[in-house]
């Protein structure tokens, strides 16, 4: 187990180093000058040069990379060119929106998907299954920004139960903050639930055809108990894999939903930083996300071991 863990950690570290080189190189190739963007059309070339020097953009490539990567090692993520505040402060503010949003959406998606998956699998081929999977198909197909707008018109404009968008901050109180996350979480969760439900269903159907299920039924266990206790647990591995992927996506890939609900999340920060060529912000956040994805994968690996005891002793 220790050797396994060590190996995983070394691979993770190498991935991080490689990712940092790729991210840095890509941002270098990207056309556009952050200094010119800041100063606009009427600034002279000399002024742009002064600002470039101030930003440290005129230093040679490799020292600049080493400086940045070295900073990352000591958890110093640098300062934003545009906002001129530490990147870590920006990230902290945005994580306070993105992380709770991702968690709520993930919880919603699981709560919807697992029962639907179980329901469909146990009624495979019957009307209920067809109906549920048809709904799931619809859930995957419907563009989420459109669904989000429908939610806004119904719950914010018509019923006025929740705000149409924006985030008041956690300092405004738990309930107002949560209220502004409900609609985006639902808009994010539904397509994810549809995918997850389909995965859960097919994994379950496969498991339900296994011999031990027949054995369990043969020894007199009720169908319900077999389904929930024996079959579902064994069908969890593909479900957990998808969940891990979805969590990584929900953390930073939600730019469209963040735009529609004008939430100050991580996705919008990255998007804004790219358009403003705030290179240091993009580079540092992408590295944080890479680290997060690696961490999530590690957690998923460990959770395999929890649901499947056979994996615990394995290398």
């Amino acid at each position: 187990m220790t050797a396994y863990l060590l190996k995983r950690l070394i691979i993770a570290a190498l991935t991080l180093v490689l990712a940092s080189i790729v991210v840095f190189a890509v941002m270098e190739i990207l056309p556009g000058d952050p200094a010119r963007l800041m100063l606009g059309l009427n600034a002279s070339a000399d002024q742009v040069e002064v600002l470039r020097n101030q930003m440290g953009l005129n230093a040679p490539l490799i020292p600049r990379y080493l400086h940045w990567a070295g900073g990352l090692l000591s958890l110093d993520f640098g300062r934003s060119y545009t906002y001129s505040v530490p990147v870590i402060d920006l990230v902290r503010e945005r994580i306070a929106v993105s992380l709770p949003l991702a968690l709520i959406a993930l919880a919603l998606s699981t709560i919807i998907a697992i029962p639907v998956g179980v329901f469909s699998a146990s009624r495979q081929g019957r009307a209920g299954d067809t109906l549920a999977m048809g709904a799931a198909q619809l859930g995957v197909a419907v563009p989420n920004f459109w669904f989000a707008l429908i939610l806004i018109y119904v719950f914010a404009v018509w019923l006025r139960l929740v705000p149409a968008g924006g985030f008041p901050g956690w300092s405004a109180g738990i309930w107002p903050a949560l209220k502004s996350l409900i609609l985006p979480a639902v808009a994010l969760a539904l397509p994810q639930a549809a995918i997850l439900g389909r995965v859960a269903r097919s994994a379950l159907i496969e498991v339900l055809n296994e011999d031990y299920i027949r054995t369990a039924r043969a020894k007199g266990l009720p169908y319900r108990a077999v389904l929930w206790r024996h079959a579902l647990r064994n069908a969890m591995i593909p479900v957990l894999t998808i969940l891990g992927l979805q969590f990584a996506f929900l953390l930073a890939g939600t730019i469209i939903i963040e735009n529609v609900f004008y939430l100050p999340g991580l996705g919008r920060l990255i998007f804004q930083a790219i358009t403003q060529r705030d290179l240091i912000v993009v580079e540092s956040i992408v590295m944080l996300l890479v680290a997060a994805v690696i961490l999530i994968n590690l957690i998923v690996d460990f959770s395999y071991a929890i649901v499947d005891p056979r994996l615990r002793g394995r290398q």
């Binding site: 800041m38 009427n42 002024q47 002064v50």
Partner: protein, 493 residues
């Protein structure tokens, strides 16, 4: 029990009605599309900085009002020497910065010297290029010496980048703007909103609003529900697009279409063949049908222009008829240039609806005269480096939003690559002319040269689509400068 509930409800309702009848609302939430990178108008060109801070947080020696006229600002009066070179400003007394420090002539000297310094990062540094000396005569008097008479000097001192900052607080203005205005920054939740509150120590007429929040709404589709739900009560310039009709038909909102200083033009690389030939540029101008472009690129709201000048400004000459839409004529021009079989070129389009939508219409219109345009969509950062800095382009569409900027055609190495000595002379004379009538005459002349010589094809003036709660008063109709001046904004009782 039910009776009690009814009584209670009635009491609450009447109380609410009573309070709303006696005290008008004093808070306002405005929507803006782009978040400013920071809040220091003397250190960044982003229009959103001035939109939020101008006249609200920061003030200049003079100020521009909603008609584009120069009004006294921190200077209550001024005198100009006979040779037009020395301006003596009499400053207001009792003015304090938001950090409590007193405003004086030293701050004016500091601000202007900082803006024109060698290492200045002021985005409009050319505004200060003619200042040779700034002297604080006494705490309430400033003397500014110029290298020659400047026709626009008082206007320039009222521009966004010329606001007066405090000596002690200048370096922190990006994050904590300290100005002299009727509002001060309360907090900035990055990515979300910027909140201003009333400055109780303001020297002039206090603002009617106690609190103004600028909420960032990046998505046009989200703007309408935000208004309809009441979360946002005003968009100074709404990214409405097709949804405008929905708001227009709703009596709860005022829709006020105004003008901006944004000349939207088809910029031409004047040094790059075949665009270096006048006949080719004339062909482009004749092949283009402005009304179709305006319909597609600004919902039919933009005003057509025939030169680089805002129809709302003094001295405007209507030159939209110089090259009327005429395919046969356009083809004749091409023949004159020896290109009767047409040619191919590229058009680089920045990520704004007017450019992306307008570009497609222009592409199809130019096809009629055998000019094949390849559309290349670019981001702003790419546009700035490729088109603006490196001049690596044939055609592009962009809106030049700076006020009074007809002189850009005389700037050496500007991205138009246009060089016309006759035009340069007019602009040079304009710069040093103070007499009003003579100025208007010269402005007219400059407009005419551009209209006939076609260094760019002039399309339309960008509209300002103001949408706000019908009970809100005092919002600007036009944008002579991009500012959401809230000093006179209030709720009707």
């Amino acid at each position: 029990m039910r009776l009690w509930k009814t009584i209670l409800a009635a009491a609450v309702l009447s109380l609410a009605a009573a309070t709303s009848a006696f005290a008008a609302r004093t808070d306002l939430t405005l929507g803006i599309v782009l978040e400013p990178p920071h809040l220091d108008p003397t250190a960044g060109a982003a229009a959103a900085i001035g939109e939020i801070t101008y006249a609200n947080v920061f003030e200049g020696l003079t100020r521009i009002d909603d008609n584009g006229q120069v009004q006294p600002g921190l200077a209550e009066s001024w005198a100009v020497s006979d040779d037009g070179k020395v301006y003596t400003f009499k400053l207001r007394s009792g003015v304090k910065f938001h950090d409590g420090s007193a405003f004086s002539a030293d701050d004016v000297k500091f601000s202007l010297d900082r803006a024109r310094a060698k290492d200045s990062l002021n985005p409009q540094k050319p505004l200060f290029a003619h200042i040779t000396d700034v002297t604080a005569v006494d705490p309430a008097t400033v003397k500014i010496t110029l290298d020659g008479p400047q026709g626009d000097f008082l206007y320039d001192m009222g521009q966004v980048a010329a606001v007066i900052v405090g000596k002690a607080s200048a370096d922190g203005n990006k994050d904590k703007p300290i100005g002299t205005g009727p509002f001060k920054l309360d907090h900035w939740a990055k990515g979300s909103e910027i909140t201003l509150v009333k400055n109780p120590d303001y020297w002039g007429t206090p603002a009617a609003l106690d609190k103004a929040t600028f909420r960032i709404v990046p998505d046009a589709a989200a703007a309408v529900p935000a208004l309809l739900s009441g979360d946002i009560q005003a968009f100074a310039n709404m990214p409405a697009q097709d949804a405008l009709a929905q708001v227009q038909s709703d009596p709860r909102f005022s829709v006020v279409i105004g003008s901006t200083e944004g000349e939207t033009i088809l910029s031409i690389n004047n040094k790059k063949p075949p665009f270096d030939k006048l006949a080719v540029r004339q062909a482009l101008a004749s092949a283009i049908d402005r009304s179709a472009i305006i319909a597609a690129a600004s919902n039919g709201l933009g005003k057509p222009i025939g030169s680089h000048f805002s129809p709302g400004d003094a001295g405007y000459v209507d030159l939209t008829g110089v090259y009327p839409h005429d395919i046969a004529k356009a083809k004749a021009y091409l023949k004159e240039a020896g290109l009767e079989n047409g040619f191919s070129a590229t058009i680089k389009l920045p990520p704004v609806p007017y450019a992306r939508d307008g570009g497609q219409v222009i592409q199809s219109q130019l096809k009629d005269i055998g000019v094949n345009l390849q559309i290349i969509p670019v981001e702003w950062a790419e546009w700035l480096s490729q088109v603006f800095t490196n001049k690596d382009y044939d055609l592009t569409i962009v809106s030049h939003v700076e006020p009074n900027d007809i002189d850009i055609y005389s700037r050496p190495r500007y991205y138009f690559q246009y060089d016309n000595p006759k035009f340069n002379d007019v602009i040079k004379e304009l710069g040093t002319t103070v007499d009003k009538d003579k100025r208007l005459e010269l402005l007219g002349e400059a407009q005419k040269i551009l209209a006939h010589d076609v260094p760019a094809v002039y399309l339309f003036e960008l509209p300002k689509i103001g949408v706000w709660d019908a009970k809100l008063q005092g919002m600007w109709t036009n944008w002579p400068i991009e500012a959401d001046d809230l000093t006179k904004v209030k709720w009707a009782d």
